[in-house]
């Protein structure tokens, strides 16, 4: 018989089971009938004939079973029997079943929700063809446009010139694509042709012509970019993402081939990118348009595109099969070094010295640029660890519940053993029950995970547009949850099953044994102790992260956010040249001042507490070489300091008299003065610049407080502020190359909150120029709140998980104590009959419960002290253990255990000795 026939027979007996069973029955009946007929023929009467036939045949049930065993589906039969039985058993105790499933669902749900994020952010590959052969050149997240050297020579950010040189000299790549590193900081303004709709500010990414080919993608509609599109003078085309096409244009097919205006310049939409493609990296707001690099100077007015000294590109390539990556890495490093050697930057003697350090590290490109991964990795790992602990506690709880249940079912199991059930079969039956619980809990958990993930995503990324992370469980998440359910079933099911099966039937059947039995097994106590210890760890974690958040949020930011609104704008994308800016800024100030209730109108390149930073080196005139990490600078208008609430300490602020024609002035902050001038120096009247040659550039006219920019964590942030339109004397570049003249933030201070401020701002700007789109509108408070999103998410989740752990541990302790009391009822009855008073009984039970918590604490406290150092780096201004937090956690846990112990203890004290003794 062929393997196929064999399988067919096997499958037949499986799927046509009912028929196979009936056929077997027929077959045996036929045999008996034949034999009976023969017996009748031999002269017996029919009744005797049938008996005789049965006798010669033997035990029919046994034959039936033995025959079915040969079909090889025995285990399935048993499993189905066990499963049916397990269902009946669980249905019989709805309270237990509901508690167990809910506990498990919370444990598995929390883990699956966190895993959805972990999978999307840390594990997933880009949705492109064959991601494994993609290689990224570089291993850090340097961004976005730099024109400096790198001390360690480890490059990830490159110039256009380097791209062209590498592309010519690297036949090892099937394709090598270049992509704009910092598109997230440079939104574009888009408007559809011949439509009345307002210009929208969206994410757009400039990429090389072979970008989509490198990823091996086919268009959803129309066509994708080609090398011909990425040539100087070519008509400008763009590819729209499928999601943006659906979201904004409802999938309108007439979008393809249509002329749009991007930053006021005409651009034709060539096609739609494939569905699900979200670019070369995971971002909260992925690009809506992909544009060729060569169109960037015209569209975005950027001087750095063809500047060999400006690095602004990431490279990702697809290597040919069989290429040795270490050899390739060597080759690329030396090519990049050659390329840099030709630049102006590396022609100075000082920089020539660091040139030999130049190297590029090749990293896997399957997940693209990992900026989001590095940002969230530590938080996600922490949350994964915490949710894992919650699951462990849940498992301990269920193991305990099952142990109690097993003890209650001792009699049933003994009867079954006595009737001849083998131990393996009993263990299997109990394991089936755990498995069923785990599967039900897993299903409920997946549902919770889906809800939880939706919440989580809106907490974590409140401002995302088109976030490419799906809350629905993916295949990987399903697999993860299934594996987790099976693992938990094994974890919490094995020990109770084994213990229950070990029972000697005779012992169990001999009931009514009376004595000071311990009530709960050693294992049960260990589980409760472990729960207490683990919850302490989680409670302390929750406390530390909440405290860290409070510290962050209560930091004095040295600003005033009341009645303030931040309107992010982009005059460059609205088509303004540098020479038109001065007039534009005056117009903006006038128009907004003419609105009722406006107090101050400030413009700046960026505002406090937003994710932006412009930095430079610092050299004070007349002092030795200035040490330090340079300073950040903001270009501002006269009313800016008042509009953000930064207080002047010395000298004066920026005034309307500081025009491009007057001498360049600057206001510095206190950190700048403290670190760059010898103590006691009056900074007013001093000069400084970026280096020795330019040290006379700015005259300091005032000092302001250290208003926080970018992040509270940035201590001693040196800053200086210069007038919006002034340019330092040493800057010989034509004004057309100076992108620092473009304001990015408009700060409005009002007398009182204005409810429709957003609409007013949009309207006022559109009246000035319909292309002046609002990039982002927020109250100052919202902008500040957003900066703490990550910390808030971690604090909230650790608190949530800590509370969950505490709840589970409390239920666990309550269950065990209640069980102990129930088992000791007769003992307590005797004690009371012999004169123990209720208070003494309460104390006795409570002591037992608290003792376990105490042991849990003895284990938990050292564990916490050990763990704290792993999270220290993620905490703000908390070094080592915060003992207040530890004390609060201990007290919380103690209070919860006291409650869990008190309820059963009171019940014990209310025991009526006469009744309990009579009950036996």
């Amino acid at each position: 018989m062929s393997l196929f026939d064999h399988l067919r027979l096997r499958i037949q007996t499986l799927f046509r089971r009912q028929r196979s069973v009936e056929h077997l029955d027929d077959e045996l009946q036929f045999h008996l009938d034949q034999q009976a007929a023969e017996n009748i023929a031999a002269g017996m009467n029919p009744r005797e004939a049938r008996y005789a036939a049965s006798r010669t045949f033997g035990n029919r049930t046994l034959v039936d079973e033995d025959t079915r065993t040969t079909w090889g589906w025995n285990w399935l039969d048993h499993f189905l029997q066990d499963l049916r039985f397990a269902f009946r058993q669980l249905a019989k105790t709805p309270g237990f079943t509901a508690t167990a499933i809910l506990t498990l669902a919370l444990g598995i749900g929390a883990n699956a929700a966190i895993f959805t994020l972990v999978h999307a952010i840390l594990l997933k590959s880009l949705p492109v063809a064959n991601p494994q052969s993609l290689v990224r050149l570089g291993n850090n997240n340097d961004c976005c446009v730099t024109s400096g050297t790198r001390d360690d020579g480890n490059f990830s950010l490159f110039s256009t010139a380097t791209y062209e040189m590498l592309r010519k000299n690297l036949p090892e790549f099937e394709e090598l694509a270049a992509i704009q590193a910092g598109f997230g900081y440079r939104p574009i303004t888009v408007r559809r042709d011949h439509s009345q709709e307002n210009a929208r500010s969206v994410m757009g990414e400039f990429v090389s012509g072979n970008y989509f080919r490198t990823f091996g993608l086919n268009p959803y509609a129309g066509r994708l970019l080609t090398d011909d599109d990425d040539r100087k003078g070519a008509p400008v085309v763009a590819v729209m993402s499928y999601e943006a096409w659906q979201r904004t244009y409802a999938g309108d097919p007439s979008v393809i081939g249509r002329a749009f205006f991007v930053n006021t310049q005409p651009v034709t939409i060539a096609g739609i990118a494939p569905r699900g493609f979200y670019g070369d990296r995971l971002a909260t707001s992925p690009p809506e348009l992909y544009l060729p690099i060569e169109s960037m100077p015209a569209l975005a007015n950027t001087p750095y595109v063809h500047d060999p000294d400006s690095s602004w590109l990431y490279f990702i390539g697809r290597v040919k099969p069989g290429v040795s990556l270490p050899v390739l890495q060597q080759k690329i490093s030396s090519l990049v070094e050659q390329s840099l050697a030709q630049t102006k930057l590396y022609s100075s003697e000082e920089n020539k010295k660091v040139l030999p350090k130049t190297h590029v590290v090749l990293t896997p490109g399957a997940s693209g640029i990992l900026s989001m991964r590095s940002e969230y990795a530590s938080n996600l790992r922490l949350l994964q660890f915490v949710s894992g602990l919650v699951l462990l506690i849940a498992c301990a709880n269920i193991a305990n519940l099952l142990l109690v249940r097993g003890a209650q079912r001792k009699l049933e199991l003994s009867v079954r053993t006595a009737l001849g059930a083998p131990r393996g079969r009993i263990v299997r039956q109990l394991l089936t029950e755990s498995l069923l619980l785990a599967v039900l809990g897993g299903l409920a958990g997946l549902f919770l995970a889906y809800l939880g993930t939706s919440f989580l995503l809106s907490w974590a990324f409140p401002n995302a547009i088109g976030l490419p992370i799906d809350a629905r469980p993916s295949f990987e998440v399903l697999a993860f949850a299934t594996a987790l359910s099976l693992l938990t079933a094994a974890l919490f099911g094995a020990a109770p099953a084994w213990i229950a099966a070990k029972t000697h039937p005779a012992d169990a059947l001999r009931t009514g044994s009376r004595g000071t039995i311990s009530g709960a097994s050693f294992l049960q106590r260990v589980l409760v102790i472990a729960q207490a210890a683990l919850s302490l760890v989680l409670l302390v974690g929750a406390g530390l992260f909440s405290r860290s958040l409070t510290k962050l949020e209560s930091t004095d930011l040295k600003l005033d956010s009341r009645n303030r609104y931040i309107v992010h704008v982009n005059p460059q994308a609205a088509g303004y040249s540098q020479r038109q800016l001065e007039a534009l800024y005056r117009t903006i100030e006038q128009r907004f001042h003419s609105l009722p209730g406006i107090v101050n109108v400030g413009l700046a390149t960026y505002s406090p507490m937003e994710d932006n930073n412009w930095g430079t080196g610092i050299q004070i005139q007349g002092l030795p070489d200035t040490k330090g990490d340079g300073a950040s600078f903001v270009k501002i208008t006269p009313e800016y300091f008042d509009s953000v609430g930064t207080k002047l300490i010395m000298g004066r602020g920026i005034s309307p008299q500081d025009t491009p024609a007057s001498h360049a002035v600057s206001v510095v902050n206190q950190a700048f003065v403290k670190d760059y001038f010898p103590a006691g120096t009056n900074p007013i009247g001093q000069h400084f610049g970026g280096d020795r040659e330019s040290a006379g550039d700015f005259e300091i006219v005032g000092v302001v407080e250290d208003t926080v920019y970018q992040s509270v964590r940035w201590k001693d942030h040196h800053m200086f502020f210069v007038p919006m339109m002034q340019r330092p004397a040493s800057d010989k570049d034509p004004i057309e190359n100076d992108t620092s003249l473009y304001a990015g933030a408009l700060v409005l201070q009002t007398q009182a909150p204005i409810a429709n401020m957003e609409q007013l701002a949009r309207q006022t700007l559109a009246e000035i120029n319909p292309n002046l789109a609002v990039v982002k509108f927020q109250t100052f408070d919202q902008q500040i709140t957003d900066q703490f999103n990550g910390d808030r998410l971690v604090a909230r989740l650790t608190t949530l998980f800590g509370a969950l752990a505490l709840l589970l541990a409390t239920i666990g302790l309550y269950g065990l104590t209640a069980y102990t009391v129930a088992r000791r009822t007769s003992e307590i009855g005797i004690r009371m009959a012999l004169g123990a008073n209720p208070a003494g009984v309460t104390a006795m039970v409570l002591r037992g419960a608290l003792l376990q918590t105490l042991v849990g604490l003895l284990i938990g406290v050292p564990a916490v002290l050990l763990c704290v150092r792993f999270v220290e780096s993620q905490l703000y201004e908390i070094k080592g253990m915060d003992y207040t937090v530890l004390l609060i956690a201990i007290l919380t846990l103690a209070a919860a255990s006291a409650l869990a112990g008190f309820l059963p203890a009171r019940r014990a004290a209310l025991t009526d000795p006469a009744q309990t003794l009579r009950a036996e």
Partner: protein, 111 residues
């Protein structure tokens, strides 16, 4: 009455294979045939035949087919498959070797 385990291990399989080598038979007929030919010396407990039949079927040596008997009832008839025929030859040869060996031993003792 002997149980199948009383028969020499594996002989039941051999007997079944041999019995249906000529023509397909149903279970009862197989049992009868074994009793008849061995002149009632080998009494198979009839019930124990069925696990063996189904095991041989699962192994692919015999094949069961439901068909009408001469009295018009449906019964399951077993016949040899080509693999079963090979197995029969192998087991017969084995049996012959074994019984010859046992004979030798037994005769040597009695002489």
């Amino acid at each position: 009455m002997g149980k199948p385990s009383d028969l020499v291990q594996g002989t039941l399989d051999l007997l079944i294979l041999k019995t249906i080598a000529l023509e397909p038979k149903h279970g009862w007929a197989i049992a009868k045939r074994i009793e008849q030919i061995s002149s009632d010396v080998l009494q198979v407990q009839q019930g124990s035949l069925y696990p063996a039949l189904h095991r041989l079927e699962q192994k692919g040596w015999i094949k069961g087919k439901r068909a009408e008997t001469e009295t018009g009832r449906i019964a399951k008839f077993y016949c040899l498959t080509p693999a079963g025929r090979l197995q029969l030859e192998k087991e017969s040869a084995n049996w012959n070797r074994l019984s010859a060996a046992i004979n030798l031993v037994v005769q040597a003792q009695s002489s």
